[in-house]
């Protein structure tokens, strides 16, 4: 047993942190000026978009742990690129469906593909259907992936975002959301690869929940770090506000919450490729439940530590909150995860 990043993983982390550092906003107005295309190219060139493509032996190039390392770094940097949507969620779907060329194309950074979610943002959309549906994390993506029923099991399909979708001014300022209110007809679906097995889907969901959890961990850790840094420089009543025990304890509590979410997420990340799909999914739900349980509180506490300035639109604090709220909801909030966990614990489903 050794629950620590390896040296290679540590190096990967440094690369990801560096890219995130130059691509992420220091304040909301940076979101309009940062060169997102350049950030995406950096990620492609560093191989970070290729983690879920498959090697010659059919194994993922990067494990769940590597995915979590990168997702956490980009979450921490509030980086406005569709890493989760395109490089993880869509790429893994393609790879599981055996559509390796398409996965490879995404990994090169040439094209991008998002995922299509149901109204509640809690699952991949099943199409055809009446909608509404949401393309999530689709910045620069021409299409999003969904599932359709086929006689041989769920089939991945590509849905074009070019027609019928409108941009949504959602809560999250760093990831692009589009909506279709109309039905998605069978004519607009392009099947990709072969149908998925139930295990494929479980594995995919485990990876998805883990990657989102890792993003949330990054958001929280960075938010707490920003609040702590602020408490060390902001003076009120002639002293640094960080010298007030109330502020110290607020920061300490937020730190504990963020670390608790990190511990659960690290294990889920390892479990993605190392445990059987049921166990991996249980670990992922546990991580997602914990992240969802603490993410709102942590980012709210951070806003509180920042005081008045932390309530303003010009300040970065609410960008953390908005991304955290989205991570909380996407693919199932705490309640959803807990009910699934209870099914396993209490009725052995």
């Amino acid at each position: 047993m050794l629950a620590l990043l390896s040296d290679e993983q540590q190096m990967l982390k440094e690369v990801a942190v560096q890219i995130a550092g130059s691509a992420g906003p220091a304040n909301p107005s940076d979101l309009h000026t940062r060169d997102r295309a350049a950030a995406w190219q950096s990620l492609a060139q560093s191989g970070l978009l290729a983690l879920r493509t498959r090697d010659d032996e059919g194994r993922p190039v990067g494990s769940g742990v590597e995915v979590a390392v990168v997702a956490e770094a980009l979450g921490a940097g509030l980086v406005p690129v569709p890493y989760l949507g395109s490089a993880i969620l869509a790429t893994e779907l393609l790879a599981l469906a055996g559509a390796h060329d398409e996965a490879e194309a995404l990994a090169q950074g040439v094209s991008r593909t998002g995922v299509l979610l149901d109204r509640d943002l809690s699952a991949l959309a099943r199409v055809p259907g009446d909608g509404p549906t949401y393309g999530w994390d689709v910045d620069g993506a021409a299409a999003a992936l969904a599932l359709t029923d086929s006689p041989d099991g769920p089939q991945v399909v590509r849905v074009s975002l070019e027609t019928g979708f409108v941009p949504v001014a959602g809560a999250d300022l760093t990831r692009t959301l589009v909506r279709s209110d109309g039905p998605i007809g069978a004519a607009h679906l392009t099947p990709v690869g072969r149908p998925l097995s139930p295990e494929d889907l479980q594995r995919w969901e485990a990876l998805t929940l883990t990657a989102i959890s890792a993003d949330a961990v990054g958001v929280m850790r960075a938010a707490v770090a920003r609040a702590v840094a602020y408490a060390k420089e902001r003076v009120q009543y002639g002293v640094l506000i960080g010298s007030f025990q109330a502020v110290q304890h607020m920061c300490a509590e937020a730190y504990v919450s963020a670390e608790s979410a990190a511990s659960a997420t690290n294990y889920a990340a390892w479990a993605v490729d190392e445990l059987d799909p049921t166990e991996a999914l249980m670990a992922a739900r546990t991580a997602k439940a914990q992240c969802a349980a603490v993410a709102r509180d942590v980012t709210e506490t951070v806003m509180q530590v920042f005081g008045g300035i932390g309530q303003t639109y010009e300040h970065i604090a609410h960008v953390h909150t908005r991304r955290a709220l989205t991570d909380r909801q996407v693919f199932g909030d705490e309640g959803t995860q807990l009910l699934r966990i209870a099914d396993v614990r209490l009725t052995g489903e």
Binding site: R119, Q311, T321
Partner: protein, 375 residues
């Protein structure tokens, strides 16, 4: 002990209700245009004034009616219940003026304040002086018969709509910080004043910052003696949210009804969890209302506003923020995708309730002082 209106109060309430239902401008809360909305609020102030509803608890000699603050509370409550435009806050500026001003200043400033002819804001906080107001850095240098003001004010609520400002500035940098502050009454259209709205995380311009660049103020517009600013500020702050300003309770109850409707529309009323959460929100609102009634009763009995107000402030923040959490739980993704219009904005608007006007942490410090805990 009686939580009911006295016969006089009941009579007042009945007349007020009738007046409100006949007078509230139809569709006022659908106005999207910012300027139009501001104009409407100013007009509403003048309408209230003509009907005798502004400054009811002020002394008669200053244009008030010398009534108990209970009448202000009834006005607040009924305005909230009937969704009237928001009430003008004249109390705290008025109190500063009629407590500290010269006779001439009173004659000059009180009538247009009451009538709504002139609207006021309060230039106290600064970027480096939020909770710690006494650290303010804006300076007012006496040059002949004028003060010259330089600095930046922040969190000036209503600054973008106000005509005049009750300004705090440092007139003597050489004495302890509480003692070197003076107060001024100054028009915001003076040369050198720049007002910039502050947009909060909700996307709404809730407050403003005001920049002062060599702004000249005649000496006779100083309020009180030189160095008396801190005392004036404390009076103002203590009365800023008096126990009669309970409009927020009615607003809370309206929001709760909206959340109940959301749960109904979404078919969640069968869930015991949702039922309990909604009932909990009702209980929080009741607790807040009843605590404020007790505070008001203390005030009516002649007690000055004390730190007990901190209890209500904390209860309010908790109630308001929990209610927004509940709405978010009920709405799920719809709040994040904008399908449920306005709720995300309401959520972000609920966050500073525990920051502005003394953060939750400051309120707890005040309570600890009241409990006589060691410093």
């Amino acid at each position: 002990m009686d939580y009911r209106d006295t016969p006089e109060e009941a009579e007042f309430r009945a007349v007020l209700r009738q007046w409100l239902s006949a007078t509230i401008p139809a569709g006022w809360d659908k106005i999207d245009d910012e300027e139009e909305a501001v104009e409407l609020r100013k007009e509403w102030h003048r309408t209230l004034y003509r009907a005798g509803y502004v400054g009811m608890s002020w002394p008669v000699e200053y244009g008030g009616r010398g009534l108990s603050p209970v009448y202000d509370a009834i006005l607040n409550e009924e305005s909230g219940n009937m969704n009237a435009p928001s009430l003008p806050s004249v109390g705290y500026i008025g109190r500063a003026i009629f407590t500290y001003a010269s006779e001439e200043q009173k004659r000059r400033f009180l009538p247009p304040l009451l009538s709504g002819e002139v609207s006021w804001c309060q230039g106290f906080s600064e970027p480096e002086a939020g909770s710690d107001l006494a650290s303010l850095r804006t300076t007012a240098r006496l040059e002949g018969d004028h003060y010259v003001v330089n600095g930046q004010k922040m969190w000036t609520s209503g600054g973008q709509y106000a005509d005049w400002c009750l300004l705090l500035a440092r007139t003597d940098p050489d004495v302890p910080k509480h003692k070197g502050i003076s107060a001024f009454l100054v028009a915001l259209n003076e040369p050198g004043v720049t007002v910039r709205p502050i947009v909060i995380a909700s996307g709404e311009a809730e407050t403003a910052e005001v920049f002062w660049d060599d702004v000249r103020i005649p000496e006779e517009q100083r309020l009180g003696a030189p160095g008396e600013g801190w005392r004036i500020a404390m009076t103002t702050v203590a009365y800023e949210r008096g126990p009669a300003d309970i409009g927020f309770i009615a607003a809370y109850r309206r929001t709760l009804r909206k959340v109940e409707r959301l749960a109904t529309e979404r078919g969640l009323l069968e869930q015991p969890e949702t039922r309990k959460a909604l009932a909990r929100a009702y209980v929080r609102g009741e607790v807040l209302r009843l605590n404020c009634m007790e505070q008001l009763s203390l005030r009516v009995s002649g007690r000055a506003p004390g730190s007990e107000g901190s209890v209500a402030k904390l209860l309010w923040a908790e109630a308001e923020q929990s209610l927004q959490h509940l709405a978010m739980d009920i709405l799920g993704a719809d709040e994040l995708t904008g399908v449920a219009d306005g709720w995300l904005s309401s959520y972000f608007t609920s966050r500073p309730v525990s920051v502005y006007g003394g953060s939750a942490q400051i309120q707890k410090n005040i309570i600890a002082r009241m409990l006589d805990m060691p410093r």
